[in-house]
Assembly symmetry: C2
């Protein structure tokens, strides 16, 4: 139970943060500025877009323009979600250097979210992984509902481990474990991570915890004690929870960085620059900041 | 590093939650209903009022009426803050069965908050403790700024331990350690608790953590690993942070109960009843719920 010395933060705001944004489409220029600001703050891994049909996710309809529009910072990886081969081709055309596929640990969630069983989703991912590999592009795998499902309730850690192992065996360089509805608590999260790490090396696992029930920071602390050293988060806490209106979704990058800083864990990221970026983007979207750190700092300096 | 099997929750909403409420005075009847609802939910320890000059804390001006007005539930302890002998006499007259004194681990905060040095505050508490003991009333001690001070910054754990020891030696049956501005992180909180527990038995210590920076749940998890088994919290996250407008103060009772439930720790409290109470009181005050659990649950059931 020793904490990692260094954590790699994987920024989710431009994709997971914006994809369900209600109301008007977020301008492409705003997305590009967001991504560039995050890179300037020292974030080295940014999920910048999703190459999915704009019929399903209108906010991601400009994925190609976003990817082509950003001024790249050397050393920063800009990735994109590519649910199928068509999405991958579009992503490759736009110069994406890393892609991701999105699976689930819950059958019911898989059916409702991507209209197929878990097994079928893995079959669909196979050609995506193959094509990506032949193009020299790394693939990240997501597993959703790892600590609970909105339809099925609790999810056995063994089921998470099975899907994570399948993605890893198919060639995903990293598997991100998503508490999609934010229901987890620390011991449950530890047990899940321990089960998955029997199948996938712990250094290839990431924690993607939502803060819907206010537990994300505690859960991250707990799984770092088990060896997790890659954390997904969204600046400004962008993203909300599509299953509970008004409730939080992604854990805020600012709050994760504050935690890591307090634990003496290095990230190479400038917290103040992220707070500024989060304040800017939440204002641009007309939202209340989803980061408690930003709220506490912002009002003190105001 | 084993978690406690049972945690005693000390409810703060009626006092710490309401004392800084801006705007109109909260009606006495509302306070009484709040306290009675909390007791009905199974909470066994409620800080119900503060017997302080209404010139300083107008919201607590009806402390006597509140204490006399509540229908007591057998087995529930209704306590009150009594900063001085006059307050104590008023509290005793109103039938209070437990009182509390409020000190600080930071000299600057002590001066600004109660207009005297830490040593002077302890001298002032002596006659309060003496009189309370002769009246057969237990005294709880608070130490504020245990993880940081808005004026001094970081606070050495040894300073916290010294004040906690002094309060314990004077006769406080329990010492509640307050992260008044919510700046702590898990390892810092653990170190502080370990230092204090060298001077005061761990079972006589409580954690009173504010959630201003979103760290309270993680910090509570961390200090429970060190043996803390008494937690202060406020239903609805009432209280705000007087040092950062719009930011959170007290950690929400609902979120603490959700954490404890997930960890398999017994409290004897009905979370759903507390969520209902929190929803009711925050609506009555025209506030947004300060509990993420309440937000997630409330909107799902709505």
């Amino acid at each position: 139970m020793t904490l990692p010395q260094r954590v790699r933060l994987f920024e989710m705001a431009p994709r997971d943060g914006l994809q369900n944004e209600p109301g008007a489409l977020v301008p492409t220029a705003t997305k590009i500025e967001l991504i560039e600001r995050l890179a300037s703050a020292g974030i080295r891994h940014i999920e910048a877009a999703s190459f999915v049909s704009p019929r399903w996710v209108p906010q991601m309809g400009d994925a190609g323009d976003v990817m082509r529009g950003i001024t790249r910072t050397p050393g920063v990886v800009y990735s994109a979600l590519t649910p199928n081969l068509q999405g991958l081709e579009n992503a490759l055309e736009a110069g994406v250097e890393e892609v991701a596929v999105f699976g689930a640990a819950s059958e019911a969630f898989s059916q409702k979210n991507i209209n197929c069983s878990i097994a079928e989703s893995l079959t669909r991912f196979a050609p995506v992984l193959e094509r990506a590999q032949s193009a020299g592009v790394r693939v990240r795998g997501y597993v959703s509902c790892v600590l609970g499902c909105p339809y099925e309730g609790a999810i056995e850690p063994a089921r998470v481990a099975k899907v994570a192992r399948a993605l890893f065996d198919m060639g995903c360089y990293e598997v991100s474990l998503g508490d999609t509805i934010g229901v987890g608590t620390p011991l449950v999260a530890k047990r899940m991570v321990n089960a998955v790490s029997q199948e996938v090396p712990i250094e290839r696992l990431a924690a993607h915890f939502h803060d819907t029930y206010g537990m994300a920071i505690a859960n991250l602390y707990a799984v770092m004690e088990e060896g997790i050293s890659v954390i997904d988060a969204a600046t400004g806490g962008l993203g909300g929870c599509p299953y509970a209106k008004g409730a939080s979704g992604n854990v805020a990058t600012e709050d994760v960085l504050y935690l890591l800083d307090g634990l003496g864990i290095d990230t190479g990221i400038d917290l103040e620059a992220v707070i500024e970026t989060g304040t800017w983007i939440t204002r641009a979207l007309g939202r209340r900041p989803g980061s408690k750190v930003a709220l506490a700092r912002g009002t003190r300096s105001a």
